[in-house]
Amino acid sequence: MNLARLMRRLKPGKGAVIAVPFFWLLLFFLVPFFIVLKISFAEQDLAIPPFTSLLQVEDGVLQSLTLYFGNFHFIFTDGLYAATYLSSLKVAFFTTVMCLLLGYPIAYAIARADPARRNVLLMLVMLPFWTSFLLRVYAWMGLLNETGLINNFLLSIGLISEPLHLFHNDFSLYLVMVYAYLPFMILPLFSHLVKMDMRLLEAAADLGAGPIKAFLTITLPLSKNGIIAGSMMVFIPAVGEFVIPELVGGTDTLMIGKVLWNEFFDNNNWPMASAVAIIMVLMLIVPIALLHRYETRELEGKGNA
């Protein structure tokens, strides 16, 4: 992109308005990725900062460029990394599916509710989202523990005689993942479903379609963009989730966000953490592009009828 030409093509005032947020994002969001890419080709070193420099410069002259492929080689040959990436994708995928199965009927019910009550219902969905994510995860620790409230309750009514293992396993991981990400699914679905022209359903009913057929042939296709947007809003951050697997997941739960965190904070291996991040970004580019496309389409009003 030629910057000078860009500026000439814009009116000066307009250019200045665009430039402020543009350069902020360029500097603090996009450029950092290239630095991560660069450092992923460095080697861990006992120095401050703890990695080797790729470029050897003496007297302002570039002497040599050393690219170290060891991090990527290790990721690709060590089976544990591959297993962790796959496991993260699996967890994110099933979290997304469960959020969709649970979130769709909720979004549908709110969209079809009396308009006066709709705002209240929507706010009730939003309220947990506004309260701290960390504290909501913590709340489940008190419920799922061996001596937690669910076990206490079931023991006291005599339904079980020994505490159930609800905590630090896949069950608690998925439960809390779905709990935390559910609002991100409900909101885009709701905004699509609420805009739907109800006369279409009436017409379908007049023409003899049953409610299930009308749902499958009209409502579901019309909410497709909402489904894609909501799913991506859940899937993308879920792949790299750190807090939930750390606090409620099992010790054997493999999540790439946890690996990146440990490489960085525990092993102090910044180049490895960078290589892990680069591969994660590559995996997420397609979902992000999908989200972006459907979001733009939705805002420009092309997508939905």
């Binding site: 992109m1 996009l30 701290s132 960390l134 750190f242």
Partner: protein
């Protein structure tokens, strides 16, 4: 037109809301537990609230987190409003696709990635230009601002796409300069969106753990970092008390904001209707 909800949909709502709220309610109930064992009821007590307020580490973290949240939300509102305006009104310009992409990505990008990448940027900047000299308030502020401005931009953009552009066009026809139009016409029309964007930014910043962990230095420990280090070791009654206060504050603020906005909306609708009647009577 809007029929009553079928029993199935009503059931869905009940189950959905129970799922969303049972953990939060249990958190609050057990914050009044006398016993140190959080999940074993030992009688009613408010002692954990007293010990929470006496905990200097937590109180210092609360103070720092609030300062960062207000500073980030302010910056995010300025940058995000401009960005939202650019996205809604300029639409196509060289680099617009990149710009729109950079607005979407921070909202969904896993935070371990954004946190790491920003940290490495600051380290490189320090090596090259010597700024920032250390990690702390400023680096966290930049991180939170970048995260929050995307949310503000989305809220402002969708509001701008909703409202009628003819007001701005009319002002333009009457000879107002673009900057004046922005401040006199556009900005008041999106003031609600900006207010929600501000609130959203404050809560996002107050709540952020992962990005902050990468960007904070010694001596700049925020509230989520303290909470995280405590709950990692298990349940903690002081955290229950803290959570209850958070829920109360958030609940009151959100309800109040919602009420004020609905009221403002109603007044505006009334004013528009009155203006329409007036102009109808004159023509």
């Amino acid at each position: 037109m809007h029929n009553k909800l079928s029993p199935f949909l009503k059931g869905v709502l009940v189950v959905g809301f129970l799922f969303l709220y049972i953990p939060i309610v249990s958190l609050i109930v057990y914050s009044f537990n006398e016993s140190k064992l959080v999940t074993v009821w030992g009688g009613f007590s408010t002692k954990w609230y007293a010990s929470l307020f006496a905990n200097e580490q937590i109180m210092a973290a609360v103070k720092l987190s609030i300062e960062i949240a207000l500073a980030s939300a302010l910056a995010a509102v300025v940058l995000g409003t401009i960005a939202g305006f650019v996205l809604a009104r300029f639409k196509r310009f060289p680099g617009s696709t990149l710009f729109a992409g950079m607005m979407t990505a921070p909202m969904v990008m896993p935070e371990v990635i954004t946190g790491l990448s920003m940290l490495l940027l600051f380290i490189s900047m320090q090596q090259l230009v010597g700024v920032p000299s250390e990690r702390g308030f400023i680096t966290i502020w930049v991180g939170h601002t970048t995260l929050c401005m995307a949310y503000v931009a989305v809220v402002v953009r969708s509001r701008l796409l909703e409202i009628d552009q003819s007001l701005e066009d009319a002002a333009m026809d009457l000879g107002a300069r673009p900057l004046k139009i922005f401040f006199v016409i556009t900005l008041p029309l999106v003031s609600q969106a900006i207010a929600s964007g501000f609130l959203l930014s404050v809560t996002l910043s107050l709540d952020d753990l992962v990005t902050t962990a990468f960007l904070s230095g010694p001596g700049s420990t925020t509230l989520p970092q303290v909470i995280f280090s405590k709950v990692r070791l298990g349940l903690n009654p002081e955290i229950n008390a803290l959570a209850s206060i958070t829920v109360l504050v958030v609940g009151v603020v959100v309800l109040l904001a919602n009420y004020l906005m609905l009221n403002a909306q109603r007044n505006r609708d009334k004013a528009i209707a009155a203006a329409m009647r007036e102009s109808g009577a004159h023509s």
